[in-house]
Amino acid sequence: MGGIMSWIDNSESSIGTVVGATSTDSYAFILRSYQAKVGDIVATKTEVPHDAGARQFVLVWGRIVSIERHNPFFPAEAAQELAEENIRLIDTVLSNSRDYLHAEVLILGSTTINKAEKLDISPLTYPVQPAARVLTPPADVVEKLLGSTEKDIARLRIGSLLGRSDVEVALTASKVVSRHMAILAMTGGGKTVASRRILLELIDHSYPLIIFDPHGDYLGLYENRDKLPKGTEVKLFYPMIQVSEENQSIVGDLITKMGRRLSEAQQDYFNKITSEAKIDRDTSAAEYIRGLIERCEATAKRLGNKETEEEGAKKFSAMTVNAVKRSLSFILHNLSQMEKNNERLRDQLKDAFTFTRMSDPKRDPEDLVRKGQVSIFYLAGYDHLTQSTIVSIVLEALFEHRANLSRRIPPFLAVLEEAHNFIPSRSEGQDETPSLATVRKVITEGRKFGTGLLIISQRPARLDETILAQCNSFLVLRLVNPKDKNFVRSVMENLSETDANVLQTFGPGQGIVSGQAVRFPLLVRIQHDKQFESRRIGDEDFIKDVASWEDNPRRSSNKGAFSQPQSSSNPEPATTEDKAQPHDGPSKQSQAKSGKTTATGKAAKKTPPTGIFAFKPVGRKRQ
């Protein structure tokens, strides 16, 4: 046999012999020492029945799922003696060279042996031959088997086989972007690294990306945008909830959920004022709420001496109106606070990052979705509910554009980080999360309109099961929580028990990929694109942080600046000045009275005034 299949007859390819009973699902073989590992792809040649009573030889492909190792020449009592006497085995006459390795193989399928070498895999319908040789194929053959080398099919290179760094693993791009994919792993498992790898591949194809980024994990793409293909644009957006006729109900929901629980009468009044509210273009949510508050105030004023105001059959008392106003004030305060949080976080990054206010996805979707553009929505500072509302508003609008076949925007992939906050499971008791319904719609109908989703979460058990089951491809990295593992098994049809048991042993960046994006489940090592990590935001090392922490020197030097000097006998009575500085430490007098000292254990020093009201607090942290 020549050509690329010549390895089949090469004795150096042989790594073992099939042993025991075989089936069409699996077989076992005795493995020669050090010739293979768990996760390796192996093959064995076997003869199977063909059409019309004929026979043909096929290659049966499989993945090693377990290896048991046993030394029949090493009795347990010898081990006990070695341990008790602290002797090294190799110093004695005991043997450690005749390991008996029993490997189990999960059959992936079979291919006919021919020179076309297309390796079209199909299910095995006849068991593997006992005593057959088991072979290890060369890297190029395995890549061919995985479909990595197929021409004219866009592929997303994600890394290599876990056991073979020489075999590249690539996902079928079209299946990822249209059939949705989930990346699941515990914290530190490598989810962001994995998703970034996939996104970088999509960027190579100029595929539009929408990334909802709660923590700034993807800012590195902006920071290193000069390393991206020419023509790629990375835009950073900060969210601004703008109210429109179309999303008024979503915003209304947000307001209801953010605020205090309203009674029926209060809810009725609220519905009334929202239905009457006039919405102009570019009305932000804060302005909208202020407008509602003004309405409440106007109503309250009108009520004046009246107990109620009548509107149709409904009566609203002053108490009702004021309650709604208080709720709206509370909401406005929270929203403003979140916007300020977001602004402050952006301020800290402004030397390196340029943020743009988010465009209205309904009116100007082209600003958000464009060929060759990566749009990152920086959601830091907002609570989950608000983040969810933002996601809902954006996705809903963009999906509508695609669904209406308006051709205003191209197909795109939306990335949902911390997806458990956006699509929580019913057991979380958050059925009313705004983005839940939106994502459900997108994921069920998205494949028709090119609105794909990449769902990323470290708590799979907290995800909506129905939505997750709609993902046709999965990349599962390290998971140790039994609930998460069980949940993943329930939604991934082809995750065997052996594979589920290996989830907890993965290191960072190691995982199992399965689904339509690959031909069969594979153990993979994800390529780490360190050059795209943000130097500004990354894994904080808080120990180092504290080690380098410097207290505000001026603060400590100003401690007790206004305390009266103390005599050795009777302390002076407390003056108003002693009470005037709540943020400073205790005054000398009060220290003397209470017997307290400063945090350092020393009596407070008297320091000369140095224009203390003129200075600003310096940065405490080394950037």
Binding site: P75, I87, R88, T92, L94
Partner: protein
């Protein structure tokens, strides 16, 4: 002496003779049920006397040595040495015609402390899947019909041949251990009609061609191999775990001392009488005498027995068979002592005993040299191979029998191949 023995010496002797013959065993058990403690105590008393007498005697005469067990220092000190272990396996085939046709002798060579890939070496030194005793596979014509003896002889000679083969292949070996006696009695295999080995089999065993059929007989061939073994530079030992019965070692010890003049004939007789009183074996007595790590100073034993029992045809060869130094070593208080044999003239016996002790302590429960356990597992002929070879051979014999056109031969062959003697083939004919 107890009161009973003092007053009824003769009766006692007779009683005790019968007890040792097992005649009164059931009676003893019945009595023991009612009077158990007393009987047991008396028995124990006698044995104690026996054991302490033997112990005192042996220690006073410096006939017990001790090998210290300090594995932490012992094993590292073995760095640079090479040890070999040999054991054989025989396919247990019940096949008509000549036998055996499945023998395998394996070796395990190891260099303690060596951290390279050359530390260990497993090899099948001798592998014979053939008829060792005849050139033609005949089923019934004038064949030596004691197949058990044929198998035994083949096993004995193959193991010795395997040891010789590994020592020739690896001349750097310092100590070689065989699993079994170093020298076996050969008279049983020198009886008239005992066949010689085929030229092919003899060449495999001796490592060289032997044209003279007379020299291919078991007795001279085995001697040839043993002499070659004793001439190698390695210390070659046989280690035997089974209690073969009798007291050859203790009695030989006493006789030696008598011959040297260290023990009077009267004391010799007393000692022999004491030893034989309860017919306890060397193993049983020394189990009571030796402490952990102790071994008997080796004594020369002639394994071929009394010349009047030698077959005449081979007397000259048998007379020149090598003698063996024999000792018993007790590895620990948990296990009984086992026998060690070395060629007469072995000068490194104490070092070999220390090695055997250290290896035995690696299996504290079993108390036998660990590496012999390893080579035993390696050399064993697996059941599946036995069945395959057996089935193939049976088929071959049947085909040949059927080809002879002789009804008697055919019938015989079919009977031999029948599964059960109650098979319809064996029903008496009218």
């Amino acid at each position: 002496m107890t009161d009973v023995e003092a007053t009824d010496g003769e009766i006692r002797d007779r009683i005790e003779t019968r007890i040792t013959q097992g005649m009164f065993l059931s009676n003893m058990l019945r009595v023991a049920r009612d009077d158990g403690a007393k009987l047991q105590d008396r028995f124990a008393e006698h044995i104690e006397h026996l054991a302490s007498s033997v112990s005192t005697f042996l220690r006073n005469n410096g006939l017990i040595r001790s090998a210290a067990y300090q594995p932490g220092t012992y094993w590292p000190s073995q760095l640079g040495k090479t040890f070999a272990f040999v054991d054989g396996g025989v396919a247990n085939m019940n096949v008509p015609g000549t036998a055996p046709i499945g023998i395998r002798v394996g070796s395990y060579v190891v260099k303690p402390g060596d951290e390279t890939e050359h530390r260990e070496d497993f090899k099948v030194e001798i592998s014979i899947i053939d008829d060792m005793y005849s050139e033609e596979n005949q089923t019934y014509e004038e064949r030596f019909d004691d197949r058990a003896k044929l198998q035994d002889a083949a096993r004995i000679i193959s193991e010795a041949a395997g040891a010789l083969a590994v020592l020739r292949r690896r001349p750097e070996i310092n100590v070689a251990l065989l699993h079994g006696p170093l020298v076996n009695p050969v008279s049983p295999y020198g009886t008239p009609g005992f066949p010689a080995y085929t030229e092919r089999a003899a060449a495999k065993l001796a490592g060289e061609r032997i044209g003279d059929v007379g020299l291919r007989h078991f007795v001279p061939l085995y001697r040839r191999i043993l002499e070659a073994l004793s001439e190698t530079t390695a210390s070659t030992l046989g280690v035997i775990e089974r209690d073969g019965g009798g007291r050859p070692v203790l009695e030989a010890t006493l006789r030696d001392m008598n011959e040297r003049g260290d023990l009077s004939s009267a004391d010799l007789e007393e000692g022999q009488k004491l030893l034989s009183r309860y017919d306890l074996s060397d193993t049983q007595v020394l189990d009571l005498v030796l402490k952990a790590g102790e071994y008997l100073v080796p004594v020369t034993i002639n394994r071929q027995g009394s010349p009047n029992k030698w077959p005449n045809d081979w007397a000259t060869h048998i007379e020149n068979y090598p003698n063996v130094l024999t000792s018993y070593l007790k590895p620990s208080e948990l296990v009984r002592p086992f026998r060690i044999e070395a060629f007469e003239g072995e000068t490194q016996f104490d070092a070999a005993a220390a090695l055997v002790l250290a290896m035995s302590r690696l299996l504290p429960g079993y108390g036998f040299p660990a590496a012999l356990d390893i080579v035993d597992k390696f050399a064993k002929v697996p059941a599946w191979l036995t069945k395959q070879v057996s089935a193939r051979h049976k088929g071959l014999l049947l085909r040949r029998a059927l080809a002879t056109e002789n009804d008697a031969v055919r019938e015989y062959a079919m009977k031999m191949l029948a599964v059960d003697s109650r098979d319809w083939l064996f029903r008496p004919k009218a």
